[in-house]
């Protein structure tokens, strides 16, 4: 492979006191690729996810993002470099309108600040226009344009999840990390989610998603990584992984695979 990986994790491990949550995991995401991270509950997916996003430093291993060594870098550092993430418990800015929620997310693209706002400089006004454009685009992609005046905390659960995605999209990331985006979705919504992910991939964005919903994993992912008890036990295309006997063994008897 001549193209360097967008996200490269080698030997990532995490230890909490006596508990080894993640052990020696190698994971990579190429530009424009959709990678799924699956595994039974307690496999360490969320811990790994948080380490990749910068919310938690790894106990061992190294992490590169966009060719830069980002091991132990903070969440905002990763975000500044083009990584966006959603949270398992839906996370929005509750008191702000949907529009303001998404506008806030354009933070990393702006260079003008208070002085520009005071003088209303050319650069400032251009950036305000750009911010509007990005916000509009993100809301339309997430299907929330009609809700832009509503306050974040007043949205129903499903719309809040869409808002989360809209916020992530507004940062115009190179890599989007989704934490169980299909949780609580009915089949129709899940189908729309798969389409959205495919759309994003076609636009050149890379996506890494942690998911239990197998239809979404099968439909959206180019490659799947399987974690069990903190270790990587399989990797490959969705079809390969699903027919891998080790993977089947780890899932059977622990929980049913919902398709």
């Amino acid at each position: 492979m001549s193209t360097p990986a967008l996200l490269q994790a080698i030997g990532i491990s995490k230890r909490f006191g006596g508990l080894q949550a993640v052990l020696d995991v190698d994971l990579s995401v190429m530009p424009g690729e959709v990678v799924g991270l699956i595994g039974p509950n307690g496999a360490g997916k969320t811990t790994l996810f948080n380490m990749l996003a910068g919310s938690m430093p790894p106990s061992a291993g190294r992490l590169w993002f966009g060719g830069e060594d980002c091991t132990g870098a903070s969440a905002h550092h990763m975000a500044q470099r083009g990584m966006a993430r959603t949270f398992q418990i839906t996370s929005v800015f509750p008191a702000l309108t949907v529009w303001d929620n998404v506008c806030a997310a354009t933070h990393r693209h702006q260079r003008t600040d208070w002085l520009g706002a005071v003088w209303r400089s050319r650069a400032y006004r251009d950036e305000q226009t750009q911010m509007s454009e990005r916000a509009t685009h993100a809301l339309q992609q997430a299907g929330l344009w009609h809700r832009r005046h509503d306050v974040g905390s007043e949205l129903p659960y499903g719309e809040q999840r869409k808002l989360e995605i809209a916020i992530a999209l507004a940062t115009a990331p190179r890599l989007l990390l989704l934490d169980e985006p299909a949780a609580g979705m009915n089949p129709e919504e899940a189908g729309k989610l798969v389409l959205l992910i495919q759309q994003l991939r076609d636009q050149g964005m890379a996506v890494l998603l942690v998911e239990h919903h197998m239809r979404v994993v099968m439909g959206a992912c180019d490659r799947v990584v399987v974690l069990s008890s903190g270790e990587k036990i399989a990797e490959g295309t969705p079809k390969e992984v699903v027919s891998n006997p080790e993977v089947v063994r780890v899932y059977l008897g622990r929980e049913t695979v919902h398709a």
């Binding site: 996003a53 969440a75 975000a79 500044q80 966006a84 303001d100 005071v118 940062t171």
Partner: protein, 312 residues
């Protein structure tokens, strides 16, 4: 902006009207209102924009006042430069205290700022050689333009200047709200983890806001010193701190007009109730409680349904 552009002219004229009355007493009250508004606006940056409760803010007001007064009286600094130095020193102190305290949140942050504020007050009280301790500084030179006959220790002259400065600071705060940093403040107030995940350096942004607030407090302190011409360590006391908080909370924290309204209410009600002695503070405290319980958004929320920042 349009709503404000329409209102600005009539409001401005309204504010200037008292000058025509020529009542020095009322004009003096209005000058105090304008200066307290500046102070309240500075506290609003921390309490309203950043969403952090601080109890040390009065200290920065005092630091600005003393710095400016001392620089002019002891070091012969020019009057137009000293207040800026007051602002800078207050901001620098704010940087040190903020750097040390802002990683800690919740009630511990409030206690820390309280502690720093109290220590600043104690130092001011006991460094008698420099600050003259509890006796304070008096005969502080006022701003003046002798050639034009302007003496800014007189209410009638100070009022337009104070109004002008208030207008400028209001515009500055408005610009802040619509700037990258201003939006970042709101984001980190609403959801710090999410703010970090969209690229906001929470600590540095908080520190920036804190320093801006303390510098502004210092500046208003300096203006206060050169207008009233007498200052004592009382400026840094808890009673000034409570007064500030009352202004911001009753007026409406997070908004721009709120602190100004709160300062107006405080200044005039305090005067109106002067004859009742200690009971006037009881009234204020009751108002504060009523506000907190029934009108958490402050007076401003009476006519505003939600704080709209931008329109698509």
């Amino acid at each position: 902006m349009n709503r404000w552009q329409q209102a600005a002219l009539p409001l401005g004229l309204l504010c200037l009207a008292p000058l025509a009355l020529g009542n020095d007493y009322v004009l003096h009250m209005l000058c105090l209102w304008a200066l307290y508004s500046l102070l309240a606006l500075s506290l609003n940056i921390v309490v309203g924009f950043l969403g952090e409760l601080t109890f040390g803010h009065a200290a920065f007001f005092g630091v600005g006042a003393y710095t400016s007064a001392l620089l002019v009286m002891q070091a012969g600094w020019p009057l137009w430069l000293a207040p800026l130095a007051g602002a800078v020193l207050a901001g620098a102190l704010g940087w040190v205290i903020g750097h040390v305290s802002l990683r800690i949140i919740g009630p511990q942050f409030a206690i820390l700022t309280l502690g720093f504020g109290a220590i600043t007050l104690t130092i001011t009280n006991y460094w008698v050689d420099v600050t003259r301790g509890p006796m304070g500084l008096s005969q502080i030179p006022a701003f003046a333009v002798p050639a034009l006959g302007w003496d800014f220790s007189r209410a009638a002259h100070m009022y337009p200047l104070a109004l002008l400065l208030l207008g400028l600071v209001l515009y500055g705060c408005h610009a802040l709200q619509h700037s990258r940093s201003g939006r970042a403040f709101v984001a980190l107030r609403e959801n710090p983890a999410l703010a970090a995940s969209i690229g906001i350096d929470v600590f540095r942004t908080k520190l920036l806001g804190f320093v801006a607030a303390t510098a502004l407090a210092g500046f208003s302190g300096a203006l206060y010193a050169h207008y009233l011409r007498v200052i004592t360590p009382e400026l840094m006391s808890l009673s000034y701190m409570s007064a500030m908080l009352i202004m911001v909370v009753i007026g409406g924290k997070g908004s721009l007009i709120g602190p100004v309204l709160g300062a107006l209410l405080y200044t005039f009600m305090l005067e109106a109730l002067r004859s009742t002695g200690s009971w006037r503070m009881v009234v204020f405290a009751a108002l504060l409680i009523a506000c907190v319980v029934f009108l958490p958004g402050g007076l401003v929320s009476l006519w505003r349904r939600r704080p709209a920042q931008g329109k698509p």
